[in-house]
């Protein structure tokens, strides 16, 4: 009670100042990070103005013609708006329900491995694909999925799909993309879970063994609840990126025959921007995406706080 009355009397900047005087080293250490955010993250935000302009690169930013919400309306009224929005959300949703749990399951499996060397080896091998560039991965994929490609042949004999170029069939694009993403990123994404797993108190397991819990029960009752906060936080962050999907890989994999299921917001903007150097349009779309992402993030966070008390803030 006494503290509260104290807080009311003194304004926040005075409190801050007192705090700085009290812990100068801590603030000094935080300063570079703070500066980094101001200079490189918040500073460039004034550039968002070009989303409301008809921006020509040869003129200084402030001297460009102001067009209000035109770029936003252009995007929302675009005949392909619904399609690219749907594809972005659907592909992200697939990644959320297939790729996200894959990393957790993989981390759990790793955790159950006995030999330390085998564990290290498995980890290293599974990280590898993450470091291969998108160009290479997609180049391989395009070759492997050709009518006489390696993966096509395997799928033809295993699942009896038609022997043709699989990347030219729109129904196959999303499964192929998601599978590639899982293959490339599962190992890398599992790192953070592996780290969380190593923080679990071993005495819990010992106690569980004493109580006669099997392996599966131990995972279910001890391991999973212990890493749940990590899972939730990553899930919230993931949901905060639902509108974002990198264009690099998709541009390398899709073609005119699969636009229907493969064209996402970023690739569409890339195609439009490439033709007409329309920076304002891309800035407007980026701005729009950020707002939606931000709203999703807040919603997910609030829900999570209400349901299970874990949240970002």
């Amino acid at each position: 009670m006494a503290h509260r009355t104290l807080n009311k009397r003194k304004p926040w900047y005075k409190l801050l100042w007192q705090n700085i005087l009290k812990y100068p080293q801590l603030y000094l250490m935080a300063l570079p990070v703070l500066l980094w955010y101001i200079v490189f993250q918040y500073g460039p935000m004034y550039g968002l103005i070009i989303a409301f302009q008809r921006y020509v690169p040869s003129k200084p930013i402030l001297k460009n013609q102001f067009v209000g919400m035109k770029n936003f309306m252009d995007f929302l009224a675009d005949p392909y708006f619904i399609r690219v929005l749907r594809n972005t959300l659907v592909i992200n949703f697939y990644l959320l329900i297939f790729a996200f749990p894959a990393a957790i399951i993989f981390a759990l499996l790793l955790n159950e491995l006995r030999g330390a060397r085998l564990k290290k080896l498995t980890q290293t091998v599974t990280y590898m694909p993450h470091f291969i560039s998108a160009m290479v991965i997609c180049g391989l994929a395009v070759d492997f999925f050709k009518a006489d490609g390696m993966l096509t042949s395997i799928l033809v004999s295993a699942l009896g799909v038609e022997k043709t170029n699989l990347l030219s069939i729109k129904d196959y694009f999303r499964p192929i993309y998601v599978a590639m993403q899982i293959w490339q990123e599962t190992g890398w994404d599992s790192i953070i879970f592996v780290a969380a797993l190593s923080g679990i108190d071993p005495t819990l397991y010992e106690a569980a063994v004493m109580d006669g819990a099997g392996r599966f029960k131990r995972v279910w009752h001890i391991t999973l609840p212990s890493i749940m906060p990590t899972i939730i936080i990553l899930l919230i962050l993931r949901i905060g990126n639902m509108m974002t999907l990198g264009w690099e890989k998709i541009v390398l994999l899709y073609n005119q025959m699969t636009y229907e299921t493969a064209d996402v917001i970023s690739t569409y903007v890339y195609r439009r921007g490439l033709i007409q150097f329309d920076y304002s349009f891309s800035a407007a779309v980026g701005f729009f995406n950020s707002i939606v992402n931000f709203l999703l993030l807040i919603t997910a966070n609030t829900l999570s706080r209400k349901v299970n008390e874990t949240s970002l803030w």
Binding site: P57, S58, D78, P79, A147, N165, S168, N255, Q256
Partner: protein, 538 residues
């Protein structure tokens, strides 16, 4: 047989040499040095990956060093990063700190309103008054190449009469005005199955069908129609129906959009037939021209479209796999054998690259002089063949003046030939390809025959020249419409060809293109074209 061809070929070579000798124009000379005061020029130009791995910038390049010595100038450089997507150029323009000279295609391709737009914006200098006095070599070259056709002059001068292409790229006479991309077929396969080289569409169908029936894996290796410019600009197949793949064209002198033409529907229906029969390669949508070449040269494909310079490699690779491997160039397909096609891509001199002088340049006269110096015969040879000095023995010259690269280039211990060419010769500063060098690149009888076939009854009469320019507002409106149209049509055309959309919906497709505003885009293109045609009349 081979002896005969060799002999024939020698005779042909000799004939052409004589012809070229008679065609040789007056020599171009520049008085050197250009300056005795050691003035400085800052040049904006590309710097490729192999150069940047050895030099810190082009001023360390032996050709540039020799240029500085000859001209008495100090040359400094401003290089965009390798594979710049235009960001560096745009920020350079925005910064207001410009080099004295630009060598780039960006003013022509992306700057709103083109070079004349940049002159109006106070970025570039109008050199019209300086050129007659300081650039005689350049003017002489323009006259030589134009020959009164207006084709070159229409490109050199912009819509408002300013010189927009000072020091653009001129092709060597040997490769000028040729069709460089065209269809080729395996001659040995034709012989094996008792087929004639096809000319009409029906004959093409028959050949491909026979290939397929006899187990040729890919009867026709076809690349992605809309992404490979070498392919779509040649209008292989589509020109048989009197349309382009995806462009504007002329019909009776009027600008129209090809997909709105009845011929386009006919073509799509025809290709749908091929697709149903399996004559079109299913991988085509994922293929690049390089891919096509690979399957063609390793013997999997029977027919493809490629650039004539690929003939050498294709034969070399093909014959190591199958000693009978032989290539023959085909006539572009057409409905009736005697039909005249009008949508070929004939490559003439002048591309989108050229030298521009910026408003920051303190001595524009000197800059013009320097550009003109690049047109000098000796400079041209220097850029094409390298210094040929003791330190850099890039070439040897025989008693007839024929040059060939030495082992310093071919067998350099440190660099392969392609890299060596980047390091010791300098095509960035080359304003004309060298005839002698081109002759050494295209000498096989198959290559000469390809050129012959591809141009047979094939012209570019109905093609819109690539150098038409739109003004700032026009180009905005035009690209607004066309980005939507292109997005829509590419996908639909593929759907029609491969049967995912029914041909019954074709009329709705045309209607939709109309709704996207194609009529307005045609109007804009027509206006730009009219201005272009009127240029030489000025």
């Amino acid at each position: 047989m081979t002896k005969l061809t060799t002999r024939l070929f020698c005779v042909l070579m000799a004939l052409m040499l004589c012809l070229s000798c008679t065609a040789l124009a007056a020599e171009k000379q520049t008085e050197l040095p250009l300056s005795t005061k050691g003035e400085k020029l800052v040049i904006y130009c590309d710097f490729n990956a192999s150069q940047s791995s050895v030099y810190s910038d082009l001023s360390e390049h032996p050709v540039i060093k020799q240029m500085m010595e000859e001209t008495g100038l100090t040359i400094e450089f401003m290089h965009p990063p390798v594979n710049d997507d235009g960001t560096f150029f745009n920020t350079t323009i925005a910064s207001g700190e410009w080099p004295d000279l630009f060598y780039t295609d960006r003013f022509h391709t992306t700057y709103p309103g083109g070079v004349e737009g940049a002159m109006d914006d106070g970025i570039l200098v109008n050199v019209n008054e300086l050129v007659p006095q300081y650039a005689p070599n350049f003017l002489q070259m323009v006259e030589e190449y134009d020959e009164g056709t207006g084709y070159i002059k229409n490109g050199i001068y912009g819509d408002n009469g300013a010189i927009v292409k000072l020091g653009s790229m001129f092709l060597a006479p040997y490769v000028n005005a040729r069709v460089h991309y065209g269809p080729v077929v395996r001659a040995d396969l034709l012989e094996k199955y008792g087929l004639e080289a096809p000319v009409t569409l029906d004959e093409y169908t028959n050949v491909l069908r026979t290939f397929k029936e006899n187990g040729v894996e890919v009867p026709l290796a076809l690349c992605n129609i809309f992404s490979q410019s070498g392919f779509y600009n040649s209008n292989f197949l589509s020109s048989a129906f009197g349309v382009t793949w995806n462009d504007f064209q002329l019909v009776d002198g009027k600008v129209v959009y090809s997909m709105m033409q009845p011929g386009y529907k006919e073509m799509v229906a025809f290709l749908n037939g091929w697709a149903n029969e399996g004559l079109i390669d299913r991988d085509s949508v994922n293929r690049s021209l390089d891919d096509c070449l690979t399957v063609f040269q390793n013997g999997k494909a029977g027919m493809t479209v490629y650039h004539n310079s690929n003939t050498t490699t294709a034969l070399k690779v093909g014959q190591t796999i199958d000693p009978n491997y032989e290539i023959v160039g085909l006539l572009f397909p057409r409905k009736a054998a005697e039909d005249q096609l009008t949508l070929a891509r004939i490559v003439y001199s002048l591309n989108n690259w050229s030298w521009q002088i910026s408003q920051s340049c303190e001595n524009p006269e000197l800059a013009v002089k320097f550009i003109d110096y690049l047109h000098d015969d000796d400079t041209r040879l220097l850029t094409a063949w390298g210094p040929g000095s003791e330190e850099f023995p890039t070439f040897v010259e025989d008693e007839n003046g024929m040059r060939t690269f030495t082992d310093f280039m071919y067998e350099n211990p440190k660099y392969d030939f392609t890299t060596a060419r980047q390091l010791y010769t300098l095509n960035t500063f080359q304003v004309q390809y060298d005839d002698m060098m081109e002759r050494q690149q295209y000498y096989l009888p198959q290559q000469l025959a390809n050129w012959e076939s591809w141009v047979t009854r094939n012209s570019d009469a109905d093609k819109i020249p690539s150098l038409v320019t739109m003004n700032v507002d026009e180009s905005r409106e035009y690209s607004d419409i066309m980005s939507k149209v292109n997005n829509y049509v590419e996908e639909q055309v593929y759907a029609f060809i491969f049967g995912q959309a029914s041909m019954d919906d074709y009329d709705a497709f045309v209607k939709q293109i109309e709704n996207l505003g194609i009529a307005r885009a045609c109007e804009i293109k027509q206006a730009a074209y009219d201005r272009y045609i009127a240029r030489s009349a000025k």
